[in-house]
Amino acid sequence: MTARSLFEKVWDDHQVVAETADTPAVLYIDLHLIHEVTTPEAFNVLKSRGLPVRRPDLTLATLDHSTPTLPIRSLADLDALVGAPAAKQIRVMLDNCREAGIRMLDFDSGQRGIVHVIGPELGITQPGKTIVCGDSHTSTHGAFGALAFGIGTTEVGHVLATQCLLQRKPKTLAINVNGRLARGVGAKDIILAIIGRIGVGGGTGHVIEYRGETISALSMEQRMTICNMSIEGGARAGMIAPDDTTIGYLAGRPLAPSGAAWDQAVRRWRALPADPGARYDREVSLDVAKLAPMITFGTNPGMVIPIDGAVPADTGDASFRKSLQYMGVEAGKPMLGRPVDVVFIGSCTNSRLSDLREAASLLQGRKVSGSVKVMIVPGSQTVKQQAEAEGLDRVFTAAGAEWRESGCSMCLGMNGDTVARGQLCVSTSNRNFEGRQGIGARTVLASPLTAAAAAVTGRISDPRELLAR
């Protein structure tokens, strides 16, 4: 048999009908995650055609995008916190799930959170599964060796009604990452460097597989940070082969298999890594031994520089100029030292316990600088409880940061948490698009350590200097 990559194994295992020259494959979906923003119209279509949800048991719902991060006592609070349309969206979602018999991790569940944080932490994200969600950062789940990608609302309807999707087989891109990371440099810096290298459209049409000694040495939470931003390089999915780290993470999670089923699953997962000699359509290699913390300077995640570097020279390109003008930065000048108005630590990229621990390591015993507004938003209610059990919340609040309920928060301006026009926000999220965090907001993407350093100094700062003190 020909040598197959991780992606090819998962793909082959889920073809209900193989693709032909004229027709796409019918691909079976093992886990469908849904949230309040991209599903209402999909449920409308099912209702108008009298179709039931085929596999409510393979569907898991939560509330994250338009959900407030301030505590709510009852659903009646929603209107005041997020406005009537967002509140209605949440109510419609709750009704739709109740009618269809879909498990909903809502405000009362204690397990609510960002959809890409709760799948892994509950152990329902597993190697070898196909996982989709009406959200482009579904690529996060690929960290477990699942084939996971974002879909649109029409496709959400397809999966609700048939548990399948029509798909053309994508190409494969292997990204080999080698070298030992220096202190103060982490997974977020690796993925920002990769996107800077391949560009925001570089992975279009491809599934990425991240490989190499650096990737193998990462924890699951760090691997999730990497796979999360695959879409920022244009790839719908990013995958990492399951190994002892993956299996160790899943063992004992509430929705992971147990007993004999666990042993069987582990045997199956062990067979998923690429066969020796497996081929990829493209390969890219990166040595990260000398990598510095990375930050963005422009209005897409590919516009990225080392924190101690300078904004590139003006090429005369109109899009580049427009981007710099929006950000209020100058070509050829450093970003270091620029005053910061807001710091946001959160989002499906960097809101897990290890991210919060990193931020706390810099904030411990220090104070947030002057007028900087610092918001720290855990990825799920479970992360929130764990962080509070360790006392991280007290480190944050003692430093002068706000500690919130879980949700997407300031990652996208639709839940009441926004950055004001013209303000500069150092953010651990994944998109620095114009207006992403609020109309006219300026976003600098960075790691939790770099964000925490900005909180303490009030300026864009190199976290390595604070760590050395």
Binding site: P40, K88, S136, G152, G201, G234, R236, F433
Partner: protein, 194 residues
């Protein structure tokens, strides 16, 4: 979905590269529970100033843009969020095709499912279209090509199935529902259950 064989319209040009779906429809408009009326939100932060007044220098606000049904955009259009609100807003506004040298995967998929034709052309054709806003272009789904005013044509990639669906107004859910026996067989026969 309406059938589309070919149509002719004038172009409106947005030359920026990497126009993401947050620009096409900003997130604050995503609190809707239906797809109707999203044309008003199309490029909202580029179209309107902070007082809600149209910015006269934005291409869509210029008199020449009225009635244009084809958008020519810079490289790599539609990256970012999976929001289907992006093609919904373009269609609701009256755009029937988007032309670029590259179109992001999820946006492209979403477009095809709603009858918005994603047209990826070579750099020369693209450069010419960027430099000549307002020309009449024919988008021919049947022939998988566009025709420029001087009679030149440029092909664009469109797989057979997507072409068939556009030409016949086929909704892909209907096609998937016809596979339900195969799906049931697959569910019963697989080596492990999710």
């Amino acid at each position: 979905m309406d059938k589309i064989t070919r149509f002719t319209s004038r172009t409106v040009v947005l030359p920026q590269s990497d126009i993401d779906t947050d620009q096409i429809v900003p997130a604050r408009f995503l609190t809707t529970t239906t797809r109707k009326g999203l044309g008003q939100a199309l490029f909202a932060d580029w179209r309107y100033d902070s007082a809600g007044q149209p910015r006269p220098d934005f291409a869509l606000n210029q008199p020449a843009a009225a009635g244009c049904g084809i958008l020519v955009a810079g490289h790599n259009f539609g990256c970012g969020s999976s929001r289907e609100h992006a093609p919904w807003a373009l269609l609701d506004y009256g755009i029937g095709a988007v032309i670029s040298t590259g179109i992001a995967d999820i946006f492209r998929n979403n477009s095809l499912k709603n009858g918005l034709v994603p047209v990826i052309v070579d750099a020369d054709t693209h450069g010419w279209l960027l430099a000549h806003p307002g020309v009449e272009v024919t988008v021919d789904v049947d022939a998988r090509s566009i025709r420029l005013p001087d009679g030149r044509t440029a092909e664009f990639p469109l797989d057979g199935f997507s072409r068939y669906c556009l030409l016949n107004g086929v909704d892909q859910l209907g096609y998937l529902l016809q596979q339900s026996e195969a799906i049931t067989r697959f569910e019963k026969a697989r080596a492990w259950q999710p």
